[in-house]
């Protein structure tokens, strides 16, 4: 179980951005963090891991306070029991796969977990190789296994699968799920892929401009069409063409003439030369380049 409150000003390419997140995360959940590039997803993860210092914040995980700026508590990354899988995997090139995992052992920790993880992530054949000799998918598995060695309370995954091809991605999604369940982890996963989130996440947090604007089950969030876009135009009535049950209202919009059907009651209130508001509730608006310039 985890309570997060984080406030941090970020320097984004398009100016400053305030990351402000206040969330509650139940234990053993897999949360997908979804949003555009530059929305603050990676920064949020780095703040949770202790690699980025927020201006204000409070992070409490299973009763342990990791961060409380008001009380002057700020545990360094070393003391946070976080597993973090970096976007570039960050495997140590000077160590073999097995040495990478063994390096992650805490002082006095039972080293058998390394063997267990080698097995779980199917790294047996690769364990004596150096990471530079591995493919992206293999490196990803090593990074995941290494992050789990210390049995973290919180597993953070920064777009771990984005660099992989579809087949490898689907295979590793199964790994992630298996690991998440087997180790009873609480996991936050950054992903740009709705299909991936639907498959893996219990909840999606949608981050936009530093704020979480939606928290939903992924199927609900991604299946709901975006809210209708209200449009408003002004037109001047040119003439009314009576029809069988109503009238065609012919309006001048700039250089164009537009016709809209109106029921008889409404049409009766209009007179040519009058201005009207045109409201559109558009579910799908498609813009196409025109063939002929006016």
């Amino acid at each position: 179980m985890m309570d997060i409150f984080v406030e941090k000003t970020l320097r984004a390419p398009g100016g400053e951005l305030t990351l402000r997140v206040k969330e509650h995360l139940p234990a053993h959940q897999l949360v997908g963090l979804f949003g555009k590039s530059g929305a603050g997803k990676t920064s949020l993860l780095r703040t949770l891991a202790g690699l980025l210092q927020p201006e204000a914040g409070k992070i409490v995980v299973d009763g342990a306070t990791w961060l409380d700026t008001a009380a002057g508590i700020n545990r360094p990354p070393q003391e946070r029991q976080v597993g973090l899988v970096f976007q570039d995997y960050a495997l140590f090139p000077n160590m073999t796969v097995r040495e990478n995992l063994a390096f992650a052992l805490a002082r006095g920790q039972d080293p058998r977990i390394v063997t267990d993880l080698v097995e779980l992530c199917e790294l047996g054949n690769l364990q004596h190789q150096r990471p530079t000799h591995l493919s992206g998918g293999q490196q990803q598995r090593v990074a995941l296994a290494r992050a789990l060695v210390q049995r973290p309370r919180l597993l953070l995954l920064d777009e771990p699968l984005s660099a992989l091809d579809l087949e490898m991605r689907q295979k590793l999604q199964q790994y992630l799920l298996r690991v998440h369940r087997e180790y009873q982890l609480t996991t936050i996963l950054i992903s740009h892929d709705p299909a991936e989130l639907c498959q893996l996440a219990d909840t999606v947090w949608v981050l936009a401009d530093g704020k979480i604007i939606a928290r939903e089950r992924p199927l609900v969030y991604f299946a709901t069409p975006p809210p209708a876009v209200p449009w408003q135009l002004k037109g001047k009535i040119v003439t009314l063409v009576p029809q069988q049950n109503g009238a065609l209202v012919v309006m001048q919009l700039g250089d164009e003439q537009v016709q809209v059907w109106a029921n008889p009651a409404l049409a009766a209130t209009f007179t040519p030369g009058e201005w009207v508001d045109i409201h559109l509730e558009a579910q799908h608006i498609q813009l196409k380049k025109t063939d002929h310039q006016p």
């Binding site: 891991a49 990354p77 070393q78 946070r80 390096f103 992650a104 060695v149």
Partner: protein
Amino acid sequence: MIDWTPLWLTFKLAAITTLLLLLISVPLAYWLAYSRRRWKPVVETLVSMPLVLPPTVLGFYLLIAFSPAHTFGAWLDTWLGLRLVFSFEGLVVASLLYSLPFMVHPIQAGLSNLPPSLREAAYVLGKSPRTTLFRVLLPNIKPSLLTGIVLAFAHTIGEFGVVLMIGGNIPGQTKVAAIAVYDAVESMNYPVANTYSLVLFALTFVILLLVYLSNGGYFKSWWP
């Protein structure tokens, strides 16, 4: 008969200087690579000064500082019994300053060029900055370390002006090969000057060649 002492002295000086420089430069380069202090550029500038200063300027100020007639030199003399003027110990201290940038710069560059995620990954795995430095960072910048070691060694061998200023020309104490060459030429003893020069030329050539071969990956099969 050639007196080999100057050559022996040169290599002793270079070896001691390089070893001490390695101990000093790793923490210094680490700080320069990762610190965000506002006065870091000042330290960076000071470290680089020996690159541009005439060695005589450095030697002159060291001479003044180490002289027992002045405060610092007197303090060294009284409290540590150290006389750094016209002594081998003085040459070591001067060489440390003189060759500092040649050791610090490659190590600093090596550390800065590592992906930041390596260091962060080690921290998240619960490792202290010290463990991270010795088990993750340094092993991954071996070529930079080697470059620093060799450049500092070779540069100390090539030292002349600083030595002349604060060491003088005392046989067995401060008369290093570079000074001995100068001394021999002054007394028109060209064959001796030639012998010293040839040895220095050949040795420094071999040392630098080894570095370039190593950094070019020629020894990969022995030292991955």
